[in-house]
Symmetry: C2
Subunit: 226 residues, 2 copies
């Protein structure tokens, strides 16, 4: 469902930075994959490319078999909002909106009534343990609470593809396990999930681990334990 | 060197939130302490109070034996910049300044020449592995690189007291270990260090762990292993 062919993402500068350096990668529908690697190795850049939030400097990205280089920005945005839920490493919540409003924003333009958006957003926020923080603005939330609002917003639309950039970095182990549980359940329901994580235990418990170093794929393994 | 007596921090609202609920705490000079607890339990609020970035709703905070309620905001700011280095959970880098400029900002108002500020900032950035990113703006850095710039800025002035709010949340284990190594060395040189962390291994390896739940001190232990 996601395929990268010889993808390069280079940032200009002195010197230029090759954040993703000639990556070939295929992720099949319904896979659950961890992306690991040192800080600065290109993981977020890679996930942004996979999520069509960024375009390659060279190479091709195919989503659902469609060559994204042939899509306009608006067509790409349409594909993205219909199919992909993205959890950002830096959350990117809207500061003027409450937790529930931030999550509900993930459901706009789908013909869902405001009442129904509110209802679903409340449910997802309760699933991530924030039922008591629905009307808090982001600056009135803890770091881990903001992270969970970002997760809720990515999941509220039941996306076919979930891309999560270090979703448990600000969470204690109990809360983190609950989020991982949630991801496993979405996966069991058919979602394709790609998670960047620095948590070795989390990564080891997923069926496939891809490791990145200096913008290149270093290893790509599959757990053989059942 | 740091003492809290019956400290409360309550946020107004419907309902009000008692983020720190009647905490008594003493941290002696030269201690190395971990603060752990669930997401939303009050750790960052507690650290901000300890670091004089916030004032209690009631109760007293003493820094170096001085009752902070008797200091004006500017006197407090002076005490803080002379004695305390703070690593924020959300980094708070200045977006228009490069990595080295952000760190150098931690040395202003000390009569240090610009050349010397630049030199020291470059050194600290190299110590956290960012020698190759000195002139990058924050939006041209990865999440873990921004975290390390925040760490470098907190440490560049050799503060007597280091308060770090989840300093390794965005780092892979190798880089994280390097940061922890650095903290142990500062501690060996006499700094008082308080670290909020969700990393159980990191916390277990510090001489003292304080755990917080719902704004209250739940436990306060000291490692007996040498
Ligand atoms: N300005 C505010 N107004 C109301 N409530 C707030 C405000 N700031 C924080 N809170 C609440 O106070 C509680 C404690 O927040 P704090 O940031 O100290 O938690 P934390 O232990 O650092 O959590 P985390 O591990 O997620 O970073 C949270 O439940 C949060 O929602
Ligand atoms: N706009 C930019 N211009 C120049 N270099 C950039 C830019 N954005 C990112 N980089 C560099 O590209 C490299 C890869 O960044 P990326 O955010 O993908 O790393 P990462 O693996 O997600 O790291 P982390 O684990 O710290 O989040 C980093 O070394 C970073 O400094
Ligand atoms: Mg990243
Ligand atoms: Mg916090």
């Amino acid at each position: 469902v996601l395929e990268l062919r010889r993808v390069v993402r280079q940032y200009e500068g002195t010197p230029p930075v090759r954040a993703v350096d000639n990556v070939d990668l295929r992720i099949a529908t319904g896979e659950l994959v961890a992306i690991v690697g040192p800080s600065g190795s290109g993981k977020s850049t890679l996930l942004n490319l996979i999520g069509t939030l960024d375009r390659p400097t060279s190479g091709r990205l195919f989503v659902d078999g469609v060559d994204t280089s042939e899509l306009s920005d608006s067509a790409l945005a349409g594909l993205r909002s219909a199919r992909i839920g993205f959890v950002f490493q830096q959350f990117h919540l809207l500061s003027g909106m409450t937790a529930v409003e931030n999550v509900a924003a993930g459901l706009l333009y789908r013909g869902i009534s405001r009442t129904e958006r509110r209802k679903r957003s409340t449910e997802v926020l309760k699933r991530v343990g924030l039922g008591h923080r629905l009307s808090h603005l982001p600056n009135k939330l803890s770091g881990g609470e903001r992270q969970r609002v970002a997760i809720a917003r990515a999941l509220v639309g039941d996306p076919a593809i979930v891309l999560a950039d270090e979703p448990t970095g600000n969470l204690d182990s109990k809360t983190s396990n609950e989020i991982v549980e949630l991801m496993h359940r979405l996966h069991a329901d058919g979602s394709t999930i790609v998670v960047i994580t620095h948590d070795k235990e989390l990564a080891a418990n997923l069926p496939r681990q891809i490791s990145i170093r200096d913008g290149k794929l270093e290893s790509d393994s599959t757990n053989r334990t059942p």
